[in-house]
């Protein structure tokens, strides 16, 4: 059995807002359950995928791991994030700082806005080294250039003097990756790292991430995406999220060859898949993702599910292990 490096137990994160859907505004702030009761482990040397439509709580889960939820309006209301035996959520802001960017790093969806527009790349890279211990500027600069080269930024010595706006989206993402690698983190969380990029550049970035993973040995990656293709090509194990909950969790092979949850199989059927002839119309999932302020009390997918039973609306199913390491949350598999 592989070693667990991260254990997430019963994580729930809410956002408060004056809102109730249906066009009417409430007077008080009410909590919207962006993530509720999420538990999963990350093992050494694996790529764990988190997939789901936008609004399903993927990013919020990721930010919660490093306690990066902006408060207000957000709040982590329960849960433990245990990294190598330590609960990160119990640490003071000064203590958790040592983990951020060093043990666990993140890269984001929009490389353009994720870099500070008025600071040179140089400064943004060097500060990572300098705020995690006593590296002097010259040393930090040398290391930064090395990392940028490693991340495939051409002309790194010159480019490091520039501002983010003079780089293309792909180059900006390379800078983000270089920054995230500063201390050879044991876990890299990538939140839709290629969604904003062209396919050809997406292929470059994914390739780079695989290379780095291979070189760094025992490090792990959490790959967040809505793109099932990326899941299939990059990940070992997958969590499917919907309505702030994990609906299915399996290794990639089982997920694609034997999807259990109606949402998972509907999603796999509905995306246009290149190279497969579609006879006429695409399969679709009717309706849309529920609003976090108006989640159905039972199964979160019940208003769109073609297999819905009476019990689905009333009672939320449990996440159950159906076959080895294949979990699903659905009444079809209960009892």
């Amino acid at each position: 059995m592989k070693n667990k490096i991260l254990e997430i137990k019963n994580l729930s994160t809410v956002f408060y807002a004056k809102h109730s859907g249906q066009g009417k505004e409430t007077k008080e702030l009410i909590p919207g359950k962006a993530v509720s009761g999420v538990s999963f482990d990350v093992y050494e040397d694996e790529v764990l995928g988190i997939v789901g439509e936008s609004g399903s709580g993927k990013s919020v889960t990721a930010y919660s791991i490093l306690n990066l939820i902006p408060n207000p309006p957000g709040k982590i209301v329960s849960g433990e994030i245990i990294y190598r035996g330590i609960d990160l959520l119990k640490l003071s802001s000064e203590e958790i700082r040592k983990y951020r960017g060093a043990e666990i790093s993140m890269i984001f969806q929009e490389p353009g806005t994720s870099l500070n527009p008025v600071m040179r790349i140089e400064e943004q890279m060097c500060e990572v080294f300098m705020s995690h211990g006593k590296t002097d500027r010259a040393e930090a600069l040398k290391k930064s250039i090395e990392l940028l080269k490693r991340a495939g930024l051409p002309d790194a010595e010159k480019r490091i003097k520039e501002y983010p706006s003079s780089l293309s989206g792909g180059m900006q993402q390379r800078v983000m990756i270089a920054m995230a690698l500063a201390f050879r983190p044991s876990l890299l969380i990538a939140d839709e790292p290629t969604t904003a990029l062209d396919v050809t550049v997406q292929a470059q970035i994914l390739d780079l991430m695989s290379d780095i993973k291979r070189e760094n040995g025992k490090s792990s990656i959490i790959m967040i995406t809505h793109n099932l293709g990326i899941i299939a090509e990059m990940c070992d194990r997958v969590l499917v999220m919907y309505g702030g909950k994990i609906q299915e969790s399996a290794n990639v092979k089982d997920l694609f060859e034997n999807p259990l949850h109606p949402y998972t199989s509907a999603m796999i059927k509905s995306i246009p898949c290149f190279g497969k002839k579609h006879e006429g119309r695409l399969n679709t999932i009717p309706g849309m993702v529920p609003d976090i302020f108006n989640l159905p009390p039972g199964c979160k997918f019940c208003n769109r599910c073609e297999f819905k039973k009476d019990i689905c609306e009333k009672k939320e199913p449990e996440l159950k292990e159906i076959s080895k390491e294949h979990f699903v949350r659905c009444h079809l598999y209960e009892g």
Partner: protein, 346 residues
């Protein structure tokens, strides 16, 4: 970039000529000009002397009462006998030699009148300007960092009270309480310096100048204080919600560094943008505050010269003010490019 600013500086010339020529032209048609004033004076004299001699004024227009020769003299004295373009050209040529002409009202060279008043206004303007930025920007940043705290709330109330009080009224109130001795004799009743300033030793002089400075500067600033503080606060808060702030935290930076380096640098952009114009406004002085504190500043001079139709002074002030505004705009652009690397002028 350099070429852009060179062009901008060159562009001052036509803009400047445009502004001054139009004003020059308008001044010719405003009623109550110096010609009419002189005529009125003469006419009044005539009426008085006419009634003494017992002759009945047969002509109501009075114009005929002024001898043609006197009229001509006045016209020549003011140069009104020549066409407007010619006089404008002459004015410009004189301007190039820094000759602004003579004030009608003060019978002194305009340049002397303006510079003596201007030094007072620059003194108050610059002190106010520096103080506002030194206080408001840090205050705004702290308010943003501790948004929603008691400190934030109380300082907001104070700042807005100041905003809604007219500066001159506040000044007058302060004078009643602290000035001259009715209640407390902390501050003088006004003026730029005490009369015996020249006889004081250095410390005495500094103390005296300070005593004369504090109340007017506070009154000057009262309005702009709130604007700049809130602008800073909002700008910092807006930036704290940006994606790159999340990156900065995710990198493991301290909260201090995130706010005071990452967010602040971006927040400076709108603050710097207002700098040039703000300086222009402060240097323009304020008639009411100058009146209250009896300061011989530029605001009062402008007011008096318009009332007195003191054309050379009006034109002189126009030259100064438009030069300040135009250079202020260029400085703004320059600073804008300096704080925001994305801005590229071509």
């Amino acid at each position: 970039m350099l070429r852009y600013f060179f062009r901008r500086i060159l562009l001052i010339v036509p803009t400047f000529i445009g502004i001054t020529f139009i004003t020059f032209l308008i001044l010719q048609f405003v009623p109550g000009g110096p010609l009419e004033r002189e005529m009125l004076k003469l006419q009044m004299g005539n009426v008085v002397s006419g009634s003494e001699s017992g002759a009945v004024g047969s002509n109501r227009t009075g114009m005929t009462n002024i001898p043609e020769s006197a009229l001509k003299e006045i016209r020549e004295f003011y140069g009104f006998d020549r066409p407007v373009p010619e006089r404008y050209l002459e004015w410009v040529l004189n301007l190039c030699r820094l000759n602004f002409g003579k004030s009608y009202a003060y019978s002194e060279p305009v340049i002397d009148v303006i510079t003596s008043r201007f030094s007072v206004s620059i003194y108050f303007g610059l002190i106010g300007f520096v103080l506002t930025y030194l206080i408001c920007v840090p205050l705004g940043v702290i308010k943003a960092a501790r948004s929603g705290s008691k400190f934030d709330l109380i300082s907001s109330i104070v700042v807005f009270l100041g905003y809604s009080t007219p500066g001159w009224a506040f000044g007058a109130l302060m004078l009643i309480f602290f000035g001259g001795g009715s209640f407390l004799n902390v501050f003088p009743l006004g003026g730029f310096r005490s009369d015996d300033f020249d006889n004081m030793n250095l410390f005495g002089q500094i103390y005296d100048q300070l005593r004369h400075t504090i109340l007017p500067v506070i009154s000057y600033l009262l309005g702009s204080f709130a604007t700049l503080t809130i602008l800073t606060k909002n700008s910092v808060i807006e930036n704290l919600n940006q994606d790159y702030i999340r990156t900065a935290y995710a990198k493991g930076l301290s909260k201090k560094r995130v706010i005071y380096v990452h967010a602040l640098r971006n927040s400076l952009i709108p603050i710097v943008t207002g700098l040039g114009q703000f300086l222009g406004i402060l240097l323009a002085g304020s008639i009411l505050i100058e009146k209250v504190f009896n300061i011989q500043g530029i605001g009062l001079l402008a007011y008096d010269s318009i009332i007195n139709r003191d054309y050379p002074v009006i034109m002189g002030l126009l030259v100064f003010q438009s030069l300040i505004l135009l250079t202020g705009n260029i400085i703004t652009d320059f600073l804008y490019a300096a704080v925001d690397p994305r801005v590229k002028y071509k």
